[in-house]
Point group: C2
């Protein structure tokens, strides 16, 4: 639990990280405009960041299943926040792009969220802010860099071919 002064205990740190993470998620859920869900914003972020992108890659990047990505994108399209493009080279593919409205909505959400969270982070010293910023950068880098980089997750079959020699203890099937 309280890791206050335990140095170098990576497992404990990761546990704490995830726990704090979950708590932050709840706070954000309260703070943000609750008419839309976290998944919507997360997906919009992916779209904004990666431009026209295939469904499968959205799923891989977001660490969600392909059907879930389909559902989310459908919702975004309904909302007018995303649009789908047929791929001239492959008729199976429809890429998704964020629209101007989507961009605006995402920015608005970020502002709103920030404003709502401000009181909670008011009075942080610059050094503390820098620490958080650095941590965010480190985590983002790891999230981007670590596995599932360009490779897509197999649809349903069991595949061990994509492991880039970095996943020793992964049950391979997620929730089977």
């Amino acid at each position: 639990m309280y890791s206050g002064g335990m140095p170098s205990d990576l497992p404990a740190l990761l546990g704490d990280l995830i726990t704090v993470n979950h708590r932050l998620t709840r706070v954000a859920a309260h703070a943000a405009d609750s008419r839309e869900s976290p998944a919507v914003w997360r997906t919009l972020s992916v779209l904004r960041q990666l431009g026209p992108i295939r469904l499968g890659e959205i799923a891989a990047r977001s660490r969600i299943s392909q059907p879930t990505a389909t559902k989310l994108v459908a919702h975004l399209v309904e909302r007018g926040w995303a649009a789908r493009l047929a791929d001239p080279l492959d008729a199976r593919v429809t890429s998704t792009v964020i629209t101007a409205a989507g961009n605006a909505a995402l920015s608005a959400w970020r502002s709103e969220l920030a404003e709502a969270l401000l009181p909670m982070f008011d009075g942080l010293a610059d050094a503390e802010l820098a620490t958080i910023r650095n941590a965010v950068d480190i985590l983002r880098e790891r999230l981007d860099g670590s596995e599932v980089p360009v490779e897509r997750v197999p649809t349903a079959a069991v595949t061990t071919a994509r492991v880039p020699a970095s996943e020793p203890g992964r049950p391979a099937g997620a929730r089977a």
Copy 2:
């Protein structure tokens, strides 16, 4: 407080923080392959940390609604990971405690999670680890400290002087 540092675009930082947070949540969901959900572990963490605790406080701490807390606790009790205690002073109240099994399950989850995440955080420099650890501590402090204005006198009267709590299964006071 160290005034005059970098401009610190706080809104942007908060947006990034939450976005990274959501992505991490997905990663954790994949990594900790347990058949239990984040909410379960989050609730168990609260129970472990705060000992016998009322439903309402679980809800407040977790930033979830009271009915959701009821549901989660019911699930935990079913699982044998939590037990409920009648309050001898107020028959409306039933406090909840984590059981030994719950404690073990929580610890096991944390280990499992840590192991699964290790590859992702492999090769981090000590300084980077320290940064993350500090950020976690800062965030936790803010999460604890700015505990949603529950429009109530801060804890004090409620959280103190409960049942000895050494034996979770024992009601400690025959209720009429």
